[in-house]
Symmetry: C2
Subunit: 148 residues, 2 copies
DNA sequence: GAGAGAAACTTCCTTTTAGGAAGTAGACAC
DNA sequence: GTGTCTACTTCCTAAAAGGAAGTTTCTCTC
């Protein structure tokens, strides 16, 4: 009972915010992009999985990949999540899904121009992670040592 | 029983991958970065919350913010998640947490240089979202119309 | 001096989400 | 006709997120 007013204000703010959120799709789109499987799939389809020097000029091959190829490359992903994420990316127009009726059906995925433009951003994230990883790990150790 | 071998291979691959994953912190770091609250907090502390023209030269003010300010700005976040995310960002050395023993204790958060460098990347994501939002929404509508 | 109030958290409980394992289709190879 | 392949779907359990209330320590009011 002590924080009645504060709680009420918080609830009020939430209602206002929810309305704002519903009206602000860019926030929601940002939520969708900030998903680890989305970023990893974009990296995979963008075509650089081996650690490469950032800044080096290399072709951004928007290579098409099969379902099983992606699955193998991002081996940590469950089939369910992979399918789910690929579908939502297709829905958003970031990649195309092509079914070839071969012996066992073949499905290939390829980045669209839109997907490729996003890939450029996520590739920045990726190279940031590679560049600053050591620093972050050191910070973590220091922090843990301080607080243990 | 039909997919015994395939399942075994998958399990095998998973074991190998998990070892790889444990040994490859950049993948894990990428997972951490690809978190919606991380991105939003970085945007907040970077100091541009109003929609601004991307590309316009404006100061990247790494302004310090209080807990309650951030909470208000990202009103959708629960207090628990905010505290949790801020702690982990502090642990990673992306921001500093300063406690000032005023009347009710005041805690302020500020991006470090490392955090600021990541902020530049996430700001790119943000502006991408704002730029291409309309296109994505259109794609979604088309997709839903096609598959309904 | 009893009570309210404020900031920044915790704690507890519920709901949503992700992950893992197994099942499905349909054509072919043996 | 049993096994195998790809690209899924379904089901169930485990982990994470969300919401609401409680906690602490001080100070100001009446």
């Amino acid at each position: 009972m002590t924080t009645m007013k504060a709680t009420q204000e918080r609830a009020q703010a939430k209602v206002e915010y929810n309305a704002f959120l519903a009206a602000c799709p860019s926030r929601r789109l940002l939520d969708r992009i900030s998903d680890k499987w989305v970023v990893l799939i974009l990296c995979a389809l963008g075509g650089d999985d081996s650690p490469r020097q950032p800044g080096a000029a290399h072709a951004d091959a928007p290579k098409a990949m099969r379902y099983s190829e992606i699955s193998r490359l991002l081996a940590g992903v469950s089939q369910k999540m992979l399918t789910q994420t690929l579908r939502s990316l297709e829905r958003d127009g970031l990649l195309t899904r092509t079914v070839t009726p071969t012996v066992p059906v073949t499905v290939s995925y390829e980045l669209t121009d839109l997907g490729l433009s996003l890939h450029h951003m996520t590739r920045g994230l990726r190279s940031w992670a590679q560049t600053h990883m050591a620093e972050v790990l050191e910070n973590r150790e220091n922090y843990d040592a301080r607080t243990s």
